[in-house]
Amino acid sequence: MAEPRFNVLWLQSGGCGGCSMSLLCADTADFRGLLRQIGVNLLWHPAFSLESGDESLAIMQDCLSGKVPLHALCLEGSVLRGPEGSGRFHMLAGTQEPMLHWVERLSAVAHHVVAVGSCAAFGGITAGGINPTDACGLQYEGDHAGGVLGAQWRDPSGLPVVNVAGCPTHPGWVLETLAALAAGLPMPADALDTLGRPRAYADQLVHHACSRNEYYEYKASADKPSDLGCMMENMGCKGTQAHADCNIRLWNGEGSCTRGGYACISCTEPGFEEPGHAFHQTPKVAGIPIGLPTDMHKAWFVALASLSKSATPKRVKVNSTSDHLVVAPLIKKTRLK
């Protein structure tokens, strides 16, 4: 196999490092081998590389000087612009220079810029509450285009910042994106959705393949933690609106948020960190959830919900408010048609 030639520099700023830790959970028995197979040469990564201190800085300088081509700059974590635009809430260790400036300079020489996680894409959790550090994404501040690089910024191939949003990101989302960029073919602009997210995972809804779908169909709802029912009506679940393939791709083996017994908080969406209501409660008007399933008309939702509620089988109703299967499906006596 040829030596991997797609040089990736990975930096972390205003985040938790969780997207890197998630990446290490990629579904493979040979993580390094997988990177090699997709052609990625990790120039430097804060957790996985040998180089430290002056050695790390030398790698970054080589990227800036053009001695080493920087094919992709991956940033994990939001950019901290405060206080007062100085960027001093994160000074890159050993440099006495704000990470804000490093990100600006490295983005200018990178062939592609990838925002890994919702922090780097949109601001994310770090921009929550009063946003004490004036955190934002590389090219977005919440759902407003702009951010650090500006709405008009494009890489030399014409792509905006590639926003692999998620909190954390699924390892597959990151690796597929890097593989697509490393393949050498120009990535078509329509490979990204209108928020810059790779459509390979963002064209699905979390609702798709949710294991609670039968409860959803009948609006048989959970009303407390550990209940098996649908979490849309009461528990704050946004799976019918959030763009991601979490229930198709699955996490860490057999997982997803809804399979873990808790609501989707739409962590791939800009502004998810400030939903305007308590995360664990569904906001409603006149008993109807405000956040209706994407692409569904309210009148139809209300009509179908009331119809399906009255049609709910006893089994589904009982199980929906239990923490384990209480009533098993009926065994029919005839051959199934």
Binding site: L24, G53, H90, G129
Partner: protein, 483 residues
Amino acid sequence: MTRLLVGPFNRVEGDLEVRLEVSDGRVTEAWVNAPMYRGFEQILQGKHPFDAMVYVPRICGICSVTQSVAAARALAAACGVEAPPNGVWLTNLMLACENAADHLTHFYLFFMPDFTREVYAGRAWHAQALRRFSTQSGDHSREAVAARQRWMHLMGTLGGKWPHTQSIVPGGSTRNLSGSERFRLGSRVAEMRSFLERVLYAAPLEEVVALDSEQALEQWLQRDPLHGDLRLFLSIARDLQLDTLGRGPGLTLSYGGFADPDGQFAMAPGVWDGNTLQPVNTAQIAEDARHAWLADAGAAPHPSVGLTLPQMDKPDAYTWNKAPRLDGRVLETGALARQLADGQPLVRALWAKTGGNVATRVLARAMELARLVILAEQCLRAVEPDAPCANDAVLPMEADAFGLCEAARGSLGHWLSIRGGRIDNYQIIAPTSWNFSPRDRHGTPGALEAALVGAPVQPGEKTPVTVQHIVRSFDPCMVCTVH
């Protein structure tokens, strides 16, 4: 005298900078800087108290579960709710899973690669270290990542994903376990046991846990000095005299690990001073912001009334981290502290002889990893499929509460005040806040700052390798430290 500014320090979680003064080939003074501030304590103010369960795991991508558990315990105390036995076992299982994964990651990906460096090319063990731990091609680090990935299926099933699960709630766990799921997870635990017994220890877990004296350790090592990565480490440690590097303070802290449904700890809590084990008195904890870029109230307050407010351009400030102290004293926390508190005889014997240092920290962590996998097996057996896993929690309008937890890296505490049904104050002291604390108002350096003094520095070194060993021996988590 020369001055060195060392950073970015990778293979630690988050960003770290160390400033050193070096004279005659030794570090004479050190200052530790956590150079990033995000402000979680400010973000949480005014939020619905249960929103903490979404925000706080996201403080840290590597110890996310422990942040959730500390928050859930603080909220459970505020609500007066207790988890049913299944909720306790499932939470302990997730904690054991994350702590074990962190120990494994630290050993294979963060700590051991430094022994593959060129500077050690002449050493008898160097070829083995390169073959096993090279960040580019190490056989054993590659296997460790694969084993870790399978092990984290425990978190996939129990937590939905890792990091940042929300299945941990004040009243227990939102995710029950069926009998067949328990069977599947059992096979994942068996895979981890098999990896450790084959590659890390080259011995049964029980044999490692039972090592009870220096003599026993010596015999175990001599049986096959390069077989198994722990023995290779012990051989390296002896050759490089790692027990003389990075001397920690004479005081260690553990809040106690893995309480069962009756409140009995699997790993006892306590403050160990080399002679006696004292109960932990959290009322004696105070955080001193004198040298942090944070508002300093003129005194070091208890975290229940603590304040975290940025204040740049403050004379003498050099980090975003405050200096936590217990009754005014500097202490060390982590796996070493837990094993000392729990009375592990080998760890106590080594501590009595050479104190906390690079070798004892790494050995204590490796021994604890064996215990964590055994503990996970026990938790899994204790889970009763389909029995209740969570009790509903009802929030009071006013409360002051705290939650404690042992993270892989040591003692983690959350202090919470609720007023008018909203979070009024939230203060967090993380393990590395203790270990990597700056000087306090009396000028007393933190644990790492003191541990670095005396470290040998070779001529021309800009990022001294001994400093790297010492720093990484603590397994720091900088994103938790400042949050």
